[in-house]
């Protein structure tokens, strides 16, 4: 009962559309555009009816797993419940059909939404200014590093290097490079944290910034963060924070208060806009006031009670995206913040911490915790005990699917030996967490008795283990007739 591709379902002459009758004279395309500019047809493009379209995509959807079906404990991804009221409000006609170039006088509602979100995020970050233009987390990182370059350039020297801990997300070094910097990797200490002494030795006046994730990717709060920031600032370097793990801090600690100069936040993580199979997201960036003049153009300003886009930003790094950012995602993030309110956001953070620590407590007897340091919103184990039986973290992950759960994050961070990185988020019930722990414990027992079985999981899915090696060796990235 596999589902054919659209191209295989297609049959010549089928249609799934109907256009209104044309109320103006038809135009001869060759005459209007020149014969050489008119294509004959779209070769092999699908031809199907409406009922076949909805069936195709409905059937395909049933091969997917989503938060709406159960726990999605991907570490670092903050897969929390996506409230549906947010989807509803983003589709209100006056918002969804707003054109970015319609007159400002007819865009005041959209602009107010952006303005309020900037204000709330500034409060949450502890930052002086926020831009909503970046389209995603990595795009926010990129914006942040460019802000640092522009600032340092204005001080006389953009410098050469960006420090990145070895535990960082891959986007951090990739971002530094495309923003024109060299990357220097900083080794974590045995607690998975940045060692101030190592840092001290690494910082000199060639260092433009350090990119820090806090809590870091092993789910631990950098206990020396204030000291670290001081070390960097003393050498004229800036502190960039990757806000991927901000869900651990909202209402409890603010990056702007512990020494961060600039951070991005993935609105699709902390503020619950849907991941949608990989996007769209939004990567709001918050900065301290010394970086504000460099924020992307245009900036949102208020004058005489009217919102306006200010294009007069002479020190700005320029645009990072057309128009004003992923507005539809911003609407959802604001709706999320409004639903919680200040006290509710803090409450959510505490539940996120509680859930991670509860999982840690229940699983620690069966899996080796990677670091002793207290966990924040996620906990990271290593597969050392299971490796003894020849079973690795990736195998356990696939077996977990048979138990009805999405796997945790596999083999990241790289500094952990065969990492199992688990982030439950605050929207999981105790019952769901208990069922998840019982499943992992059952797998741990299976590994003791039948490791081979676990190594060939999953068994209950409609697709058995997918051969990724062949896919990469002989890439087939499009259908051909």
């Amino acid at each position: 009962q596999n589902e054919s591709l659209l191209f295989e379902l297609s049959h010549p002459g089928k249609t799934g559309y109907q256009l209104p009758e044309l109320d103006v004279p038809a135009v001869d395309a060759a005459e209007a555009l020149g014969g050489e500019n008119v294509r004959t047809e779209i070769e092999n493009f699908p031809e199907v009816s409406e009922v076949e379209v909805i069936r195709h995509f409905t059937r395909l959807s049933t091969w997917n797993y989503g938060i709406d079906l159960g726990l999605f404990p991907l570490g670092s991804c903050t897969m929390k419940y996506n409230p549906r009221i947010n989807e509803a409000v983003a589709r209100i006609e006056g918002l969804a059909w707003a054109h970015p170039y319609q007159p400002e006088s007819l865009s005041q509602g959209a602009m107010e939404i952006a303005a309020v979100l900037e204000q709330y995020l500034g409060e949450i970050f502890g930052m002086d200014a926020v831009t909503l233009q970046p389209a995603a987390g990595a795009h926010g990182e990129y914006t942040g590093i460019m802000l640092i370059r522009a600032y340092l350039e204005s001080q006389g020297n953009p410098r050469r290097k960006v420090l990145v801990p070895d535990s960082a997300h891959g986007t951090n070094p990739a971002t530094a490079i495309i923003a024109g910097y060299e990357v220097a990797t900083l080794k974590s200490n045995e607690q998975g944290m940045i060692d101030p002494a190592v840092l001290e030795a690494a910082v000199d006046d060639s260092v433009a910034a350090m990119m820090i994730t806090n809590p870091n990717t092993v789910g631990v709060f950098e206990e020396n963060i204030v000291k670290i920031a001081a070390i960097l600032h003393a050498k004229g370097a800036q502190v960039y924070m990757d806000g991927a793990n901000l869900n651990a801090l909202v209402g409890v600690a603010r990056p702007g208060d512990f020494g961060i100069d600039v951070l991005h936040s993935n609105l699709h993580k902390t503020f619950s806009t849907p991941h949608g199979g990989g996007g769209p997201g939004a990567g709001a960036v918050g900065v301290k006031s010394h970086l504000e003049p460099f924020l992307p153009t245009p900036r949102l300003r208020q004058a005489n009670g009217q919102w306006t886009w200010d294009y007069n930003c002479p020190q700005s790094i320029g645009r990072v995206r057309a128009y004003y950012g992923n507005f539809g995602v911003l609407v959802r993030a604001l709706a999320y913040i409004m639903a919680h309110g200040g006290p509710g956001l803090r409450k959510a953070t505490l539940d996120a911490l509680l859930n991670a620590n509860y999982l840690r407590a229940k699983l620690a007897p069966y899996f080796q915790i990677a670091y002793d340091a207290p966990s924040m919103h996620e906990c990271v184990f290593e597969d050392t005990r299971q490796e003894a039986k020849g079973v690795r973290t990736g195998d356990i992950a696939k077996r977990l699917i048979d138990y009805g759960f999405h796997p945790y994050t596999v083999s990241f961070p790289m500094i952990v030996h065969g990492a199992l990185m688990i982030e439950p988020t605050e929207t999981e019930s105790k019952q769901e967490l208990d069922a998840f722990c019982e499943s992992l414990i059952a797998i741990s027992n299976e590994i003791d008795t039948d490791p081979e079985m676990v190594k060939h999981a999953p068994y209950m899915t409609r697709t058995s283990r997918v051969d990724e090696v062949t896919a990469a060796r002989k890439p087939i990235v499009r259908w051909k007739p």
């Binding site: 799934g16 049933t62 865009s107 199979g277 890439p475």
Partner: protein, 437 residues
């Protein structure tokens, strides 16, 4: 709190299991100076009813009930309801990047279909699983051309969407690469071929131009491609109006095609989220940024799909990645995929033909400064009024007019960019003509 599933009794039991006394113990190890000493200055949580009410009130302050003739990269096309129906299914909406192929075949299959349809539309051989949008796809293409050619200069047409150009400028400046503009022909509105030719040399990584260009005019891709290739440069062709591909010959001679799929069922949404594409020749496949889905088999020999060639990507390659892109626009790309399926081969053509007909009906008799062939938008000089005055007159008829061009092109301060689509009604078109004539 309706999104927090614990009862207080359960919180208590869980704290006990953790050996903790109170919720505050959960962050007691944080350095005191890092703790936030007060409450967030954000009003208390609101009910669904209040949230819905708030956003309706904001929406009411925007344009409502206006006919609009704005295009300029964001087009008003009818959105078949199936598109929203499909993307609203929780299995698509609430899923993650499909790293775990065994429970993500839905997303993976639709992306594979998306990649294929983008190739079919653009005349290219490979396409990735979407970029943020058209504007950010431009620097990605430029960087890719720089990697392929080992060169460091980009020649960019002046009639590329000005905001796309600004995004490219920002990226190039930081990457220490050079952007060099070349002009357009003031008679036709197409690129100035002589100007392009005069600037081509062995430092040029790529020539970047848009078709239909920002003025709505279809460019001669073959000619541009021959020029670029003669100098060892790649040709990057950009589009912002995807509907044109239903009718207009695709840029088969380009090396890289980037563009914006907003026209394919993606609501204008005050500028985003949209979905960009990047497509290229097979030989450049390993230089493409972002996600790629490939076909393979599962352990039982059945066809299956998975993310592939991830050694190009940041999470494996880190500082050696082709791009820092991580999130793509999967859900929006899915919306576009459903749109393409609904319209299909025949529908996309008829849709494009209707757009052509509406725009040409609108243009007829108006004062057009450019003579090049246009698809569904064009530059017009209102008679006896400034563009701003004409727009003000139209607003009174509940019509949003065109984009005044002086903002981006001082030499065109007397002109505006007007767009008509299949949603433009004849009566509104006639009303616009009356004001502009």
């Amino acid at each position: 709190m309706r999104y927090l599933p614990h009862s207080d009794a359960e919180r208590r039991a869980m704290l006990d299991a953790c050996g903790l006394k109170s919720l505050d113990d959960l962050y007691a190890h944080l350095p005191a100076e890092a703790l936030f000493p007060r409450n967030l200055d954000i009003p208390a949580g609101k009910s669904e009813y209040e949230i819905s009410d708030y956003f309706k009130q904001q929406a009411a302050k925007n344009a409502n009930g206006y006919a609009s003739f704005l295009g300029a990269g964001v087009y008003a096309h009818y959105r078949p309801v199936l598109c929203d129906v499909v993307v609203s299914r929780g299995e698509f909406l609430t899923s993650y990047t499909p790293y775990q192929a065994e429970i993500a075949q839905g997303t993976l299959t639709t992306i594979f279909e998306f990649q294929t349809m983008v190739c079919q539309l653009t005349g290219m051989e490979v396409a990735n699983a979407s970029m943020y949008d058209g504007s950010t796809a431009v620097p990605e293409a430029a960087m890719m051309a720089a990697r392929v050619t080992g060169r460091h200069k980009f020649l960019v047409a002046a009639n590329l969407h000005p905001e796309y150009r600004e995004v490219l400028d920002t990226a190039a400046r930081n990457a220490q690469l050079h952007v060099e503009p070349f002009g357009y022909d003031p008679k036709t509105g197409s690129i100035d071929v002589a100007g392009l030719e005069s600037k081509l040399d062995k430092d040029i990584a790529c020539v970047i131009l848009q078709s239909p260009n920002f003025f709505g005019i279809v460019e001669n891709i073959k000619q541009a491609s021959e020029l670029a290739h003669k100098h060892g440069a790649l040709l990057v062709v950009v589009f912002s109006e995807a509907v044109s591909l239903g009718l207009v010959e695709p840029p088969r001679d380009a090396d890289i095609v980037v563009g914006e799929l907003q026209s394919f069922a993606i609501s204008p949404s005050y500028g985003g989220p949209f979905a960009g594409i990047i497509a290229t020749k097979e030989k450049y496949m390993r230089q493409i940024p972002g996600r790629l889905v490939g076909e393979t088999k599962d352990a039982d020999g059945n066809r299956a799909f998975c993310l592939t060639l991830s050694t190009r990507e940041q999470h494996i390659r880190r500082e050696k990645a082709t791009s820092n892109i991580c999130t793509n626009q999967a859900l929006i790309a899915l919306m576009a995929t459903v749109f393409m399926s609904v319209y299909g081969k025949q529908g996309l053509r008829e849709l494009a033909e209707q757009n052509l007909a509406k725009a040409h009906y609108l243009a007829k008799g108006l004062e057009l400064p450019f003579s090049g062939p246009f698809f569904n938008e064009f530059v017009v000089q209102p008679k006896g009024r400034t563009p701003e005055e004409a727009n003000a007159a139209l607003l009174e008829k509940k019509i949003i007019g065109g984009l005044p061009l002086g903002r981006f092109f001082p030499e065109l301060k007397d002109s505006m960019l007007l767009c008509a689509t299949e949603m433009s009604k004849r009566a509104d078109i006639d009303a616009v003509k009356e004001v502009l004539l």
